[in-house]
Every structure is written in C-alpha cells, then in structure tokens.
Symmetry: D2
C-alpha cells in the first residue's frame, strides 16, 4: 500500500496545472458566449500541445498517445478536469475519448484510417448516440432505434437525445437494435454513421439548464429517418453493442469521476479563498463563522475520501481489469457525484449572491454537473448493481 | 385549533388555480424568450383581473385591493406562486408588493399619488436597492452607498446589485447611509429615486445561472454617481431605513415561503405523474421502484410540514404582529428553503435526463430558486437569530 | 384556520406540566432500578389523579374518562409524554390505552366487566400480542400463531415477542390466525387470553438496548402452547383481527407521535440550557459556538414542523375519521420519528460525555426510542403506503 | 500508488480473522454478564497468543512486540476491532496501548521496569486520567486537577471521569496542572499514580447507556484527594503533559478509526445476511426492497471511502510523522465516526425489532460507539482544526 502520487507523473501534472491557468479567461468567455467563440484559441493551444506530454494521455503510445495507465490518466484528468475546457485541449474529452477507445479496440483498418486517425489528430470530433427520449436511460437494453440490413446497407430509424457534442461532429457511433428477437443483451449493435448521411438530422441542441450550448459544449437530439450506411460500418460483431458499451464504460467512469474530483478541489479552493477574504464586519471574516468553517472541513474530508475511492477503482482496473472491478466502478459513480453536488452547493452558499451569478464558474458547475447523477446510468441503478452483488455473496456464504 | 382552509377563500383559490392553467404556455415562452416576449399577453391578463377577486390581494380594500389577512394571502400566494408568472398577473409580485406596503405605510400624499398609484394600477413597476456587491448581505447595517443632503437635495453615491426588476422600473427605493455617525441601526434611510434621474445607471442585468434575464425577470447592478433627488423623496424619517426594511420583511417572508410551497407542490405533482407514467420496462413503471416511491412520500411529508409551519407563522403575524412573530418568521426562512431545494432536486432526478432540460419548468426552478437560501438574509443568519432567542430564554430560566 | 391551543385545555396542560416536575426524581430511579422499584410511588400518584382532569383523558366521560377529542388528547399527550412515566400515572399508557379502546368498541358486556373495568380503574394492566419473532413486522397479515376452535374453546399455539408490558399483565389480546384459507386480511382474529391460562408462558423479558426491563417497562417474548380459552373470548367477529388492529392504530399513532414531540421539546430545552451554561473557556459558552447554535435552531424548526403535522393529523381524525385520514397518519409516523432521533442525537452531542451517561434522561431516550422507527410498522412501510396513494391519484388524473 | 494489502500481512490478518470466530460466543457473554465473567477465558486466549504474530502488534520487536508500522497495525486493528474483545486478547487495547507508547517514549528505566513490563506481559492493566466532569473535553488545556510539589512528592487534587478501564487498573497516568501560571499549553504534566495510593479513589463506574460495566469494559469517575506520589513519577518533563498527549494521539486515532471500520464491515455483513435471508412474504426477501438494497450499497461505498481515508492517514504518519499528518488525523476522526454511526443505525433498521434487542451485537455497538463522536475531542473540534489550516493557507496564497 502506497498512497504517494508517482514521481514520474509530477512533470505532467505540473504542466497540466500551468495549462489550467491559461484556460481560465477562455473559460469565462466560453460560458458567456459559447464554444465556437473560443474554439480558435482552444485549437491554437491544441497545436502547441500536440507531441507534448499532455496530448492524448489515454491513448497507447503506438497510436500517438501517452500510454498512461488508468490510474495515471485519472490523476491527470483530475487536474485537467477542474476546467470545463481542460480535456478538450488535451484531446481526451468525452465523448471522443470513448469513441477512440472503441475504434482502437473494435475498428477495422478502414474504420481506423477514416474515423480514428482524424480524431487522434484533433482534426474532427465525434459523438455517441445511445440515450433515447422515449426510453428510460436506466434500461440500456430497451431501445427504439433500429437498424435493419437491406442489401449491403444498414437502414437506421429512430431518435436519440443527449447526444453530446453532435453539433459539429463528423460521425456518430449509434446503438441500434439489429436483432429484436435475440436475448435482450444481444439485440443492439454499434454502427458508425457519418453526420452528412442523408436521413441523419441534428434536430436541435437541447436547451439544458437554460442553455442550448453549441459545438462541443452541447447535447443534441438527433433523428435517423431511413439513414443508410454501408454494412461495413458495423463496429465489432452484430449484437455486440451492449457488451462494447460496457467495456467502454470502466475507464470512462474514472475519467468522469476524477474530473468531478478536480471540480470539487477547485470549488473548495474558491470556498476557502472567499471565506478567508470576505468581511462580514470590518473585523470578522466569513471563515470565522463556524458554520462556514465546518463546511470547509466536511467538504475537504468528503473530497479526499471520494478521491481515494476513485483512485482505488482506477488502480483496480489496471490490476484486475474493468470487468472484475465492476463493483467499484459502480460505487464511485454514486458516491462521487453526491460529493460533487454537495461541494458545489456549499461553495455557492459561501459565495452568497455572487455564487449564483455567472461571475464565477460555480454556477456553471451547479447547472451542468447536475447531470452527473443521471447520465451513465442514474445513481439509483448503480446502487442496485452494488447491492445485488453483495446480497448474492451473502446468500452464498 | 382548526386546520381547515377557510371556506370563504375557496372561490378565490379556485380562480387562481384556473388562472395557472392559462399561464403554463406563457411560462414556457417566458423561460425561453424572456419577460418582454410575453409581457403583452401578461398585461392583457392583468387587464382582465383588475377588479376581480385576485387583483392586489395583499392591499387594503380602501386602496383598491382585496384586503386579505396575511394568512389568507399566504394561501392564495401558494396557488399563484406555483408559476413564475402567477404573482405578476395579480399585481402582488416582488419587489413591487413590498414597495407598495412601504409607500402605503410611510409615504406622503405626494409619494402616494406619484409613485404608489401607478403601481397599484399596474401601470409601472419599481425596484428596491438594498444589497451591495462590496458588502455582505448578511450584515444589512454595513452599507457603502451614501446619500448626503446638499441644500434641498439628496446626493446619492454607491452601487447596488441584485436589484430585482430594475430593468423597466420607474423608480427605485434605495437604502443609503445618511447618518454615518449614528448607531449602526440608525445610519441608513430609504429614499425614492426615479430611474430617469441623472447619475442613476442600470449598469447591467447580472447574468445569474446562465441568464441575464430581462424586464421584471432580471436582477440588475445599478450605480449612483451623484444622483440628485429632492429632499422630500425621503421615506419616513431620516435614519429609519433599517426599521422600515424590517417591517417590510414579515409579510414578505410569508409571500416567498408560500410561493416556495406552491412550487414544491407543483414539483411533487410532476414527480408523481412522471413516476406513474414512465416505463422502465414494458411492465414496470418508475414509481414501482421503492427509491422513487419513498422520495415521493418524503417530499409529501416535508412539504406538508413546511406548509403548516409557514401558515402558522402567517397566522401569528395576524394574531400578534410581525415583530412578536419574528422567531417564527426566521424559522420558516431556512426550513422552507431547504425543503424547496430538496424537493426540486428529487423531482429532477425522477425526470432523469428530461429533468435537466428546459422542456419542463423544473430546471428553471432549480436554477432560479437556488437563491432562496441566500436572499433576505442567508439561512445561516436566520438560524443564528432563532438560536440566540432560545439561548437567551434558557439563560433566563 | 386557527393555530391557537384551545383555552379550555390550558388548566389541564398546566396540571400535566406540574405533574411532570414531580415525576422527574422517580424517572431517574426507574431508569436505574426498574419499574417495580417506583411502582408504589407511581400508584400513589395514580390514586391522587383518579377523578382529576388528567385521569383517563382518552376515554369517554360515560366510561369515567375525560372524553377528550383526538386533537385535545394529542396536546395533553405531548406534555405527559416528555417523561417516560407521564402516561402511566394518567392511565393512558400504551398498550393499555389501545386495549381499552378495543374493548370499549368491540367487547361484549362480559368482556367489559371482566377485562375493561379493572383496566379503567387502574387495578390491572394488559398487553397486546401481535409481532412475532419468525415473521416480519412489516407484513401484519403473515402470522404463525394460530387459534383453532376445539369444541367451545380456542386453542392457541405460537410465539409472540415485543409484547410490551406482558410482565405483570392480567391478560393479553392476541392476534392469531383462525381462518388460514380466508383472504389474507381476514385470516386472523383477536382473542383475549388471561395470563394465568395454562399453556401461556412469558418466556423472557427481551433484553433491549442492554436492559431486560421489568413490569410495565419491559417487552416480553411469550409462548402459546395449546393455551385454551373460551370461545367467548373472541373480540368482535371471527376474521376481523386485522381490521380491528387498523382501527386501533390511528389515535394510537397520534399518542406515540405527540409523545415523541414532548420528548423532543424536553431534549431541546436541555440542549439550550446546557449550551447556555456550559463554559468552554472562562469567557465562552458552548452556545456561542455556531455549530451548536444552529443545531438548536434546526431542532426547533423541525420540532415545530413535526408538531403541526401531527396535530393536523389528529384534527383530521376528529374531522373525517381515522380511515379517511390514513395518509396523514402514515406520514407522521416516519416524519416525526426521524425528527425525534435527530433531536435526541444532537442533544446528546451538545451534552458531550455527559450525554452518553445515565446522569441525564437523554441516553434512555436514545436507547429506548430507537424502536420508534421500527414498531407500528417500520418507517419504510409507511413511506410506501403514502407513495402508493399519491401514485394512484397521479395515474387517475 | 498501490492499494493492495501487503502480502506479508496476510497470515496475520487470517490469524486475526480466525481468532474473531472464537471470540463471538464470549462476546455475547461479556455483553450480558460483564467483563469479569469472561476474563478467565480471555486471559487463557492471551496466554496462547503470547509469542504469536498477533501479540503486541503495535510494540517494537525490541520490546517483545511485532513492530508493525502504523499502516500495518491499522489493517490488523480493523480485523481485531470488529469484536469488542479483539484488541484485548492481542494486548493492544485502549487505553493500555497508548500508555505503553508513552512509557516507551518518555518513561525512565524505573518506570519501564515497574509499570511498562507488567503491561507488556499482560499481567496488569492501566488507565489514563484526562477528561474532567467540570471542564469541557474540547478544551484540553483548561483543567481543574492540580499536582503541586511538596518536598519530593506530587500532591494531587481533583476529579477525572471517563477514565476508561480504571476498574482493575494497577496505575493511572494523570494529566494535572503543575504550573498554573505558565502559558496554557505548558501548564499540565503527566504523572503516574498507582491505584493503591492513598487519596486515590475510584468513585464509581459511570452508568453509560444503561450500564455501569466492569473491569476493562467500564469508564470510571476517580477522585484525587491529596494523593501523594514520588516526584520521580513525573513522565517526561514538567509542563510537557499536553505535548505528550498530542504525540500519543496520532497512532491512537488510527487504532480507533480502523476499529470503527472493522465494526462497519461486520455490521454491513450482518445487514446483507439479514436482508438476503429475512422473508417478508413467502416469496420476497427483505433485500429485494430497494430501500434496503440501496442502504447496503451506500454503506458499502461509505465504508470503503472511510477505510481508504484512514489508511491514507496511517500511511502518512509512517511517511511524514504524526505531526505533519495532523490534518489528516483530524479529518478521519469526524468522517469515520459519522460513517460508523450511520452504518450501525441502518444495520439496526434492517434487523427490525431484532436490531434493538441484545440478541445481536448491533445494539451494543449502537450504544457504546455513540461516544465515538465525543471522545478524543468532539467531531466539531476536529472540523474546526481542519478548517483553520485550510483557511490559513487560503489567506497566504
């Protein structure tokens, strides 16, 4: 047992921290004016980062990345994730990072050259079409979108929503039912659909918490109305959609959770700075109020505990694989998102009226991280997963 | 002891409920496009309501209102407040309602004819300048804005923010330090400043939770740079600003808290409807999940308890006056706002991804009611007020 | 709507409060040495109270009681219930009060003269055999104890536990399955079993939270091994056990919940006194710590809210009957018990090490009220009951 | 970073787990009949363990112990601590373990031969006199007990309480004010007082949560009325009492917290077993209720998070010393005790009525671990410590 951050990671973490400082003004602009307003500056930073120790951290070195382990990537993600823009500039942002993984693992050579390479180069973006407005996200095997084989083409029909970053994406990896009569977990397949395919429409950027967003910072509703793609656009084998989705999930969960921890630490820092400097009277600062001081202490402990829990899950994925670590991967989802929302909430309260304005980043986190308890399976589903396993073991012992 | 809603109030409550149904489509439009986009329709409804049993419910009949007691108005407010637009159409919206009260009680005949009458008629709107960016809202006797008497004019300098509905207001009632050397609670006075006064500037609508808002649905930063108004614009006596503000607060607190209860009941209804209708599988609804069912039960109990607590405070104001009921008035602030935020949060979780979109009103409540734990004195201040009194009694017994 | 305590109740409430002062020393002795050690003094007080305005408050005047409404009795119960001994001396203690009700409503003349009269006179005690060790208390229609008719006698077999006050009781009203093939809610009947019946054994006083208790302050396991009682000992009709138990529950729930509120208010008073007087340094009292002050404020608000919720349920029983008020009766169970446990817990924390000793009554409440979230149906069952009704209405609207 | 339990520790942990199985029946007896009733059997097990890998795990090998690091001892403590008797049989129980440490570090040769050796051999027990009834435990530098030097003797006067295991102890290490005019943190010294010293009286075993306890399982009030001991009984230097107490605290905190984690894991196991086996109907187990399942999942996550937080603190003590790790040591106190109490509470709820009986160990934990949030400085003090440091850093940055 050793809780020290690996020495060899230090330079990378320091570089990431320095990068964050540069992103802060852009972050403010992005929140006020949208993604496209800052994309030029962000892409300029991307050009700088290419070939640096921060570029594509999660991708094997053979494919041009840094080849970090899940644990190492988690530690880096924590630093980068404290800004809404941190992952984008390092080209490890969702949903592209997950799509890269899937293409690396299941893509044909053709898929790799046409879809993966431009992603890795940072020349294109992509999206992932899973959740549907008409079906509960907590039941991923019950989908309405279908793809039927007609001749040598898949014909897709249906609607997806919360398709993150569809606005501006070059292609969408779509979960669609190809085998409605198969057992539930073998009904769906993953199919690559370029966004210029006739029959594919980005219906709208969904207004979320008051904002439609744009570009990479948006979540769309998309429609498939007889959209046709070549049979070869199938990813992996037919009916393997669910199992590919599962495999994609483990490291992605670490990515999200460590990003939340990064946000938490930033919010705690802001809370402490505010409490230390805001005067209630000429002689008493906010931090001298015990209620505020105790929030700071509680947040601090909760963040540390959540952080260790996530790092332990990351380490377990490296050690025994995502499948065997599944229990821990479910656990961090609900534990860390709960801490996240509580920390943001207390940080806002410490900032008083300022906390609900857009003059700080807190209100953005408050709005846009509320989804953390919902996406990737609502917390309640993960609690049930964890309990089921424990109860099963209890029955057997 | 009698917990029945008074029979004579039923027709009014029914009328209010019917009104709400008409407001729903406008509400959606207001959230998406802003206040000014729907103001014509809202003002048309106002015209209809004038003279009806819903118009100016909180105002004495002698002044053209309904003369409801605080308790009665609370029960009506609950129904109207379930929509962000409900109070506006009945002309009992903050901050005008509070300003009407102050003008009725402390205004001169001239104040009444120039400022109050147009408000009561629904022809103008007003705002209230209290909170300052540089001073903690939790300490209302420590202000930077000053008004000094030069000849027969008050000259105002300073900045206010969170000046609700300043955008479009005809005048602002401003708290300003007139007597810096007096005891803390006698330093400030209330002064009426028409918004066309030179030296008065509405600097910006503060972006709050992603939105600048507009018109009545906005909160501004305003600046006073040597703004001059006649000496006669003083409200009440010099140095009485704090005590007038306190008096204004009791019934206003009931107004806010019952509005929150209205929101809670609406959110609970949405939660139940969603849980009852959303299918997780073809054979199981969301409401069959015990976690969801228990949230509904807990929300239901918490809302009922908070509701009774607020109604009891309203009854106490009618019975013994706002000053004697102060303990209860502080209590409902933190108890009801806590219930409010928890109910909204659970309602969102039950709606899943839909809950964070703007396709329902929940996300608007989530964003714009977060301030409830901050404005009118943060919850923590009210807890301290309540505790101080209990501890004082304990020391004396 | 009127939240004032009825004037005519004041003298009774004052008398009850005065009584409590006398009980305090006995309370301490009862906790340390057991019920039988103080029974003589308690029974002496009972003699005094007979014929006074506090004797049998819940019983109709025709039967020698005070004929209080459920609401009125609730207000009195609150005062009496602040002491573990308060209800006993007024002869309105559980489980006798519930048994008196059942006998009044369903008993034959013979039942009344043999079983009810001595109870009302305070000459005997009784118990109620419902919960079973082998069956979940949350499913009251699934029982193992049986009573079969042999000739003109019921023959009972089975085990009950948590049979409160069986130690010293003259008879037990037992729920037993008489009709195993009937629909679930019509399988059981209530039968009166005198405790000197051969085949009836009080197996043990169950050690609960470290104490076996004795007499009225104990909860026993009892066994029925072929215990025979006359057919006439059936209460009400055959198969009506469940519906009688339900009817017994409404006013009993008010009794318990208002007792909890009484405990809460006492604990809050102790907390405030302690905080006001305990010095942390020669110059700072515990109550000056904001964490402690805020607990006091939060407890105060929670208690008031819970109190109003319970009183509203009591009022509803008087107004529309226990059956129609069922939703509210379930609601108070889980809401008030939650407040109770949180208040006691904070009161202990404010008392520090003293709080976990038996030098105050808090540790007794901490231990013996933990059952409040379990008995009379665990809180979770009541949450499900409340949710089911709300969801049903949502489906129908 | 490496989260694996060290391989070399496995045999010890397995041996500890096996030992626990043997302790279970004794545990039940100890709870029902007291410590002295089982001491003969416990001491027989001690004889077996002497010289084994479990004996004196926290003590350097040079002194006959196992020389485990703080982290290693933490992992072992977790296993042993799941039983109230586990530490005693391995001779690493509080308060003796802390006293051994102090004597090893600060004791003279004479102290070691007279007081330490018999402790290490398991032939005697000891106690530690710190907390006083008249002074807040949260302010350890404000004490009433004094020791004044008369000739070559210390004369002690004052009262201590919560002196754990004083019943049967051979000596007490007492914190007493020797230099009332020194700066606050240098006023007290530690002095060894044999319990047969005239003027030393064990006044009573304090009834805690209904039980006086006995022997090692008790907490006493003790009085010093002119008790005289040789000047040489001073531990370390005069005025060093507070700093010695602080040094004693770090590893002791790990000891307590990992013990709590052990209890948590045991309670979780019981909860799962109960939920999996308890039938609510012939066809549905308790664990199929989502409320119960989610408690299990939440407990599981909270326990894991708390466990990692404590292990990280242990590792930090080994890495950088207790003083530098102080922040983490305070953090685990309030975080782990909070998890502990919540886990025990939910375990009880899952056990229903059984949970509040003494038929399981849960009710014992519920009662006797409530003190965890109070002793060693109430949680609130530790929150303030943690916050103060964070706020100080915020001011400096």
């Amino acid at each position: 047992m050793d809780f020290a951050t690996p020495d060899h990671l230090r330079p990378r973490l320091d570089a990431a921290a320095a990068l964050l400082t540069r992103l802060e003004p852009l972050e403010h602009q992005a929140i006020a004016q949208g993604f496209y307003a800052v994309q030029p500056q962000l892409d300029a930073i991307r050009q700088e980062l290419k070939g640096s120790s921060l570029w594509l951290p999660q991708i094997p070195t053979a494919s041009g990345g840094q080849g970090l382990s899940v644990l190492e990537h988690g530690l880096l993600t924590e630093v980068l994730g404290a800004s809404p823009l941190g992952h984008y500039v390092a080209n490890c942002q969702a949903p592209d990072a997950g799509n890269m993984e899937v293409l690396l693992e299941y893509g044909t050579d053709d898929h790799k050259s046409r879809f993966l390479q431009p992603l890795l180069a940072g020349d294109t973006r992509s999206c992932f079409g899973m959740t549907e407005p008409g079906r509960a996200g907590s039941n991923p095997v019950w989908l309405e979108t279908t793809a039927r084989l007609e001749g040598e083409e898949w014909v897709l029909d249906g609607r997806k929503w919360f398709t993150t970053a569809a606005d501006g994406a070059a292609f969408c990896i779509v979960m669609a039912v190809t085998d409605p009569d198969a057992p539930p977990h073998q009904r769906a397949s993953m199919i690559i659909v370029p966004t210029d395919t006739p029959g594919y429409t980005r219906t709208r950027n969904i207004p979320i918490m008051g904002e439609e967003g744009d570009g990479w910072m948006s979540h769309s509703e998309v429609a498939f109305d007889g959209a046709r793609v070549p049979q070869a656009n199938l990813l992996g084998t037919r009916g393997a959609g669910f199992s590919i989705a599962q495999a994609r999930l483990g490291p992605g969960r670490i990515h999200h959770c460590m990003r939340w921890i990064g946000i938490c630490r930033r919010a705690l820092g802001m809370m402490a700075t505010r409490a230390a400097s805001r005067m209630l009277t000429p002689h008493e600062s906010l931090g001298e109020k015990q209620a505020v001081a105790h929030w700071i202490a509680e947040c601090s402990a909760e963040i540390e505990a959540a952080r260790l829990l996530v790092l332990d899950a990351a380490w377990s994925i490296d050690d025994i694989g995502a499948k065997a670590a599944r229990q821990k991967i479910s656990m961090i989802k609900f534990f860390a998102s709960d801490v996240l929302m509580r920390v943001i909430d207390r940080a806002i309260q410490v900032h008083g009226a300022l906390g609900i304005t857009d003059d700080t980043v807190l209100s953005w986190f408050y709005r846009h991280e509320r989804g953390s308890r919902i996406y990737d399976g609502p917390d309640e589903v993960h609690k049930s997963v964890v309990a089921r396993r424990i109860l099963k073991e209890a029955r057997q012992s």
